[in-house]
């Protein structure tokens, strides 16, 4: 079991590396897709079954497609400028490594001091179907944020259509 998870994590991180470093933005976005898939698997193993499905539908079916679209609409076929990494990469590299290190260290330290769930509870949590729970939570205690998100989505949709409309 853990092997699949490990593979997924490796896939995630590896394709994220490609996203970060590949000069061709199209490749970057294709590997972003893999990252998303990997994250979906990680979700699955974290007991978030519905979330995993949603991750695929939204990111792969939505966001990635959108990004690919945007790339193809803006980088027209015969003047491809896909290689677009900056020359100065040292500072960003240092910064991001520093972030990773500090962040992980902080979290790690913090987690070490926190009480965690027992393995049995973890097992039980993982095997419980979450769809119904999430549905009740969304329409129950999280109703307000849910509605807010709805309005946000509507606004984003209208705004996007308005922005992208032909003159």
């Amino acid at each position: 079991m853990n092997k699949v998870l490990l593979l997924a994590e490796i896939l995630t991180v590896a394709s994220a590396l490609v996203v970060g470093f590949h000069p061709n933005i199209l490749y970057a976005s294709v590997f972003l897709l893999f990252t998303f898939c990997g994250v979906a698997v990680m979700f699955l193993y974290a007991g978030a079954d519905f979330l995993a499905g949603a991750q695929i539908i939204i990111y792969v079916g939505g966001v990635t497609i959108l990004i690919l679209f945007a790339i193809m609409l803006t980088q027209w076929l015969y003047k491809i400028k896909l290689a677009d990494l900056r020359n100065k990469m040292i500072l960003p590299a240092i910064l991001s490594v520093a972030v990773a290190v500090f962040l992980y260290r902080a979290l790690h330290q913090m987690v070490a001091t926190l009480p965690l769930q027992t393995p049995e509870a973890l097992e039980k949590f993982t095997s419980t179907p979450k769809t119904a729970l999430m549905g009740h939570a969304l329409l129950g205690s999280y109703l307000l944020p849910f509605e807010a998100i709805t309005i946000l989505l509507l606004g984003a949709m209208v705004g996007a259509v308005w922005l992208a409309r032909p003159e």
């Binding site: 500072l91 910064l95 991001s96 500090f102 330290q109």
Partner: protein
């Protein structure tokens, strides 16, 4: 009956509405609507009159609350004391006025059908004249001064509209506005009188007024420094002066002849101008109560009668002659009221209405026939227009005071009253003097008119050739009105018993006695006064016959026989002739000096004052002051506060800003780098905090 009597005024009013809205689309442009309406009024008025004839007295009232104005008493309760109540009053005066007005109006309507045929705004003419009839009849029916005034003004409007009927003629519209404005001077004062009456008596109802006066109310009230009754009386008199074209507001009536002739006949001879006299008669108790007003009334009437008669001598326009004669005759009536002979005054009102309407219609007939109003272009029409001539001659005889005709009866009684008045009140000899002189002059100029129009040879062959008698719809009214010019119709005491006894019925006098009784002025003369009156009336009869005969005689030798040349008379008059020709320069004074030199200049000055002084200086001046202060403070502000203090701060800030702006590249990623650095610092400190 009082409620039904309202129909008399409502018929013409409905006719007006129909005519004004749909007249143009009706067959014959709807003239039949107006004619039928006024005949309907006549038909309704007849039973009232017959009741008067048979019973000798009518009295009916009918009242409604028109405006409810809740007032508050000291206790806080609402009351209706301030309500305005209007209604109908039918008494003897009303009955006689009604029959006279409806009859004259009906005949004149009928005449108009022929006279106005083919005019451009035919339907509007009938609309206006219907409205006028409604106004006049409403005025007669009113039992209070407020509706009286409303109808009064409504008539003024119709007069304005009808004088200006030929609105493309500048002279006509000038005349119309002159008529309206001149009468409105009187009207405004009249309205103040009504307001004062309201203040003093709390009502404007005639009957209540009479009652209050009998109880002696109003004697101790002062208004604007005058005794209230005098104030009211004077204001009412001013109304009459305006409406009945009395001196000094008589100037509009001759000009009003610019209107169509039927209008002159109806409005400016028979009814509206007489309404002023009717007002005086209605208000007679009040005038009498104030003591100071009646002499003024008498003098105004006498002066008007005399001055107007003089002007009439020199007029060559047939309608102008009649117009001045109207003013003169109205002067008689006013004089009659002023000397206390209000019954003869009222009688003269009625008789004058009939014969003057007849005269105007005859002149209309003549004008319609020869297409000119200038008597110098007429002459010798006697044979061409026999009916017109006959009827006009009868009316002339009536106005000249020839015995046997109605004018003689009424005029003679007024003159008798005047003579009696001067005998009773020493020093007022001018009143009968002017009265008798006027009687002679009247006979003179009326016969002058007849001679110039109908006798002699034709002065304008062309016009004479085309002259012809009028159709029957126009001659019938002439004949009816001529019939009414006979004395027999108004048979009443002439002051000479032998003649009085010959009269079969004394309905008019009975009716007026009743009216006097209602007003509370049915005084019984003392034996001495009775004697004086007898004496005066006898004397007046002789004198009036003499002056009338003299007038006719001079007229005949001058204009019929040409023994005396008119030119000679003119030379004899000397400077008087130009004075008369220019109507004593009243118009020049009013228009040239009062209005153009005075009012308009003042207006212009005030408008400029408003624009330049109040607006530019007082109002916009603040702007200039503000601007001045602004520039001073602004300079200070600019240099010291702004440049040094404020901009100094700004410079410092700007310097700092320049430094910071170097980070502000507008490039997203630069910002992100900074953000991430901050995150790292935060995380770094978070890490430091960890054990």
């Amino acid at each position: 009956m009082a409620q039904q009597a309202l129909l008399i005024a409502l018929f013409p009013l409905c006719a007006f509405v129909i005519q004004a809205l749909f007249g143009k689309k009706l067959p014959r442009h709807g003239d039949f609507v107006s004619v039928l309406a006024i005949f309907g009024s006549f038909v309704v008025a007849v039973p009232i009159f017959t009741k008067l004839l048979t019973q000798g007295h009518v009295f009916e009232t009918f009242q409604v609350t028109w405006m409810a104005l809740p007032g508050v008493e000291a206790s806080g309760k609402l009351n209706s004391a301030a309500n305005i109540v209007i209604g109908v009053l039918i008494n003897n005066l009303t009955a006689i006025m009604l029959i006279m007005v409806t009859l004259c109006a009906s005949l004149i309507h009928l005449f108009s059908v022929g006279y106005m045929h083919g005019e451009e705004r035919y339907h509007l003419f009938f609309a206006y004249i219907s409205l006028f009839s409604a106004g006049m009849l409403g005025l007669v029916l009113s039992d209070n001064l407020l509706t009286f005034f409303m109808c009064w003004e409504l008539m003024g409007l119709c007069s304005y509209l009808l004088i200006g009927f030929y609105y493309k003629k500048p002279s006509a519209i000038n005349a119309s506005i002159k008529a309206f404005m001149t009468t409105r001077v009187g009207d405004t004062m009249f309205f103040l009188g009504i307001a004062a009456l309201y203040y003093v008596f709390g009502t404007s109802n005639f009957m209540e007024l009479y009652k209050a006066l009998q109880q002696g109310a109003g004697h101790d009230v002062m208004i604007a420094g005058f005794p209230a009754l005098t104030f009211i009386g004077f204001m009412v008199l001013m109304g009459t002066i305006g409406k009945s074209a009395q001196f000094p507001l008589h100037v509009w009536l001759p000009d009003a002849m610019e209107g169509p002739t039927p209008v002159s006949a109806l409005i400016h001879a028979a009814t509206m101008v007489a309404a002023g006299v009717f007002l005086l008669i209605r208000m007679f108790p009040l005038l009498e109560a104030s003591h100071t007003i009646l002499p003024i009334v008498a003098y105004i009437g006498a002066i008007t009668a005399f001055l107007a008669a003089l002007i009439a001598i020199v007029q060559v326009d047939i309608k102008k002659v009649l117009a001045y004669s109207t003013i003169s005759q109205l002067g008689y009536m006013v004089m009659g009221v002023g000397v206390g002979a209000f019954a003869p005054g009222f009688m003269h009102l009625i008789t004058h209405a009939c014969f003057k309407a007849c005269l105007f219609l005859c002149s209309g007939s003549v004008i319609h026939s020869v297409h000119t109003q200038d008597m110098r272009e007429m002459g010798g029409l006697k044979s061409k227009m026999p009916i017109t001539f006959a009827t006009m001659f009868i009316a002339t005889l009536a106005i000249s005071g020839v015995p046997g005709f109605s004018g003689f009866v009424s005029k003679d009684r007024i003159l008798g009253g005047a003579l009696a008045y001067s005998m009773e009140h020493q020093g007022h000899y001018l009143i009968p003097l002017l009265g008798f002189a006027t009687a002679g002059i009247t006979a003179f100029y009326m016969f002058r008119m007849i001679y110039m129009t109908f006798f002699g040879h034709a002065r304008d062959e062309h016009k004479h050739h085309h002259a012809h008698e009028q159709p029957v719809t126009m001659t019938i009214p002439l004949m009816i009105l001529a019939c009414l010019s006979f004395a027999i119709v108004f048979a009443g005491p002439t002051g000479i018993e032998s003649i009085d006894h010959m009269m079969p019925v004394k309905w008019f006098d009975h009716a007026l006695e009743g009216a006097q009784h209602e007003m509370g002025i049915a005084e019984h003369l003392s034996p001495e006064a009775e004697a004086i009156h007898h004496h005066a009336h006898g004397l007046a009869l002789i004198l009036s016959l003499a002056v009338a005969g003299l007038g006719i005689f001079i007229s005949s030798i001058t204009y019929l026989k040409h023994i005396l040349k008119a030119e000679t008379l003119k030379k004899m008059a000397g400077p008087v002739y130009p004075l008369l020709w220019n109507k004593y320069f009243f118009d020049e004074f009013y228009i040239g000096i009062l209005i153009q030199k005075g009012l308009l200049k003042f207006n212009h000055f005030l408008a400029v004052f408003d624009d330049k002084v109040i607006d530019r200086i007082c109002v916009d001046g603040w702007r200039d002051i503000t601007m001045g202060v602004k520039s001073i403070i602004g300079r200070f502000d600019d240099v010291v506060v702004d440049r040094i203090m404020v901009d100094g701060t700004a410079d410092v800030t700007a310097g700092g800003g320049w430094v910071l702006r170097q980070f502000q590249t507008g490039k997203v990623q630069h910002y992100l780098v900074l953000t991430v650095m901050v995150i790292i610092v935060a995380l770094f400190y978070a890490n430091l905090g960890l054990k």
